[in-house]
């Protein structure tokens, strides 16, 4: 049943030009950033050789592109998650799902999986560009894989938060603004480290994402993203159940 809902959710994204346009624009922007950074590396290659622990092409081109992609994924999330449940509620089609022999967990996981499929396309295109570095010479595969993992973890967290916000209202615009506000707050929470201290550091999306982008795979970062995703998916299920009751 999760598959049925996921396929429908995934297809519905492509029923409007938004998804196609987003993929095309993002691919152009990421390619531009990627090639700019390769050019930057080639320009300073000689000077970098003289430095100890100088960054390699993977760090400059691939990780640099992944870092920008992370922020872009965060920004585009409300565009795609806001309609998911809010639009179903507004149009009345949520009653079709609620009166069907489907558990709320399947509904939420189906929606989540469908949206994640769209993010996977973006991440796959990014991964292909990063792995293309191997065509020109040695590249740090471990760092690329860690970067991809970071993007996947950030995506599932963004989708989970977006789904929860979408479950709270019948207005997709309200869901979009709330999603952006919460994601952006979690991203900047550690900008002024004096505010919040250690808690702000732990809650910071940017802190954990940047850690993965540096090629350092720490369980604390992985657990942070997984915990946040599970928390918001559970809250979405709980909210829909509370509403039914």
């Amino acid at each position: 049943m999760i598959r049925t809902i996921a396929v429908r959710e995934f297809k519905s994204l492509f029923s409007s030009p938004l998804a196609w346009l987003t993929l095309a624009v993002l691919q152009f922007l990421f390619a531009w950033i990627f090639f700019s950074r390769i050019e930057l590396f080639l320009q300073y290659q000689a000077r970098l050789r003289s430095l100890d622990a100088a960054p390699g092409i993977t760090e400059i081109a691939a990780s640099g592109m992944f870092t920008v992609a992370g922020l872009v994924l965060l920004i585009i999330t409300p565009l795609f998650t806001s309609r998911s449940l809010a639009e179903e509620r507004r149009s009345g089609s949520l009653k079709l799902i609620l009166s069907s022999p489907v558990s709320l967990t399947s509904v939420v996981m189906g929606k989540f999986t469908g949206l994640f499929g769209f993010y996977l396309i973006i991440i796959l295109l990014l991964a292909l560009m990063a792995f293309s570095l191997r065509l020109g010479g040695p590249a740090d595969i471990g760092q690329i894989i860690t970067g991809i993992l970071g993007l996947i973890l950030l995506s599932i967290t963004c989708i989970s938060i977006g789904l929860f916000m979408s479950s709270l209202t019948a207005q997709p615009t309200v869901a979009a603004i709330s999603t952006f506000a919460l994601l952006f707050f979690l991203w900047i929470i550690k900008w002024d480290v004096k505010t919040g201290g250690a808690l702000a550091t732990y809650l910071s999306l940017q802190e954990h994402f940047t850690s993965l982008m540096s090629g350092y795979l720490a369980s604390v970062d992985v657990i942070y993203f997984l915990l946040l995703s599970i928390l918001f998916l559970s809250l979405t299920i709980w909210w829909l159940d509370w509403e039914r009751n």
């Binding site: 519905s12 149009s91 009345g92 009653k95 079709l96 609620l98």
Partner: protein, 245 residues
């Protein structure tokens, strides 16, 4: 639960924010019977329908569908239900066929029966030539037919229709009423409406609701002599406020 009834609700109570919408409503419907639920706007019809369809859980009371409790065995119970809410739960961007396939899968129709069930639902609702058409391009009457088709695509024991003829033109109303009467021959149908002639044309039995309570129940044959349905309805729902001429 008595085996002759396909759906049996007992002492349903539901309130929203302290306002009592449904107050100890009990009903039961046999196979091959069409029950009309009559009442003015705000009488509690839609709230009752939502509880019978499993969209809302009653604060108090029980609903048994085909022998399964909607509270204890919700998935089995909902598999025997077809529900058309007041606003058809359609996806305008899908074709009729795509939509009915999605609905059939949500209702756990097996792959082997999928095509035949969809064909049968389309035939019954006069949609044989509309399968490839986008739902958004259909007239309101045809969208209503699509809404009814989704409610019967899994061949449920009970069909719940909430004001299915609202907003339709006279020809469409006649066609939809004829369809409901046909469905009543094989299924149990619960029809919510505030249109009195509709009840006389389509239903076998009528229940009148006022302020969340059932204030009258009788077979349609009771109106062949003595007080008309209109007189009973106005007397019970409006009291002395409206004079019947």
């Amino acid at each position: 639960m008595g085996e002759e009834y396909t759906i049996q609700a007992k002492d349903l109570v539901r309130s929203y924010g302290g306002r009592l919408a449904v107050d100890h409503v009990s009903l039961q419907v046999r196979r091959g019977e069409v029950l009309g639920l009559l009442g003015v706007n705000g009488a509690g019809k839609s709230s009752t329908m939502n509880m019978l369809a499993g969209v809302r859980i009653p604060n108090q009371g029980t609903v048994f569908v085909s022998g399964y409790s909607l509270t204890d065995d919700p998935l089995q119970a909902r598999a025997s239900l077809g529900y058309l809410p007041e606003k058809p739960p359609i996806y305008p961007e899908l074709t009729v066929d795509e939509y009915l396939i999605y609905c059939a899968r949500l209702r756990r129709v097996s792959s082997a029966k999928l095509a035949s069930n969809i064909e049968q639902a389309k035939t019954r609702c006069g949609l044989e030539n509309s399968g490839k058409r986008l739902i958004r391009n259909l007239s309101k009457g045809y969208q209503q037919r699509v809404g009814i088709a989704q409610a019967i695509v899994h061949q449920p024991n009970i069909i719940i229709l909430d004001e299915p003829t609202v907003g339709l033109d006279p020809v469409q109303i006649v066609q939809i009423r004829k369809l409901i009467r046909e469905l009543g021959n094989d299924h149990s149908v619960i029809l919510s409406t505030h249109i009195l002639p509709e009840v006389l044309t389509v239903c076998d039995r009528v229940m009148i609701m006022r302020a969340g309570r059932v204030v009258y129940e009788a077979p349609i044959s009771a109106f062949r002599e003595g007080e008309s349905l209109e007189q009973v309805f106005i007397r019970l729902t409006c009291g002395d406020e409206v004079e019947i001429t």
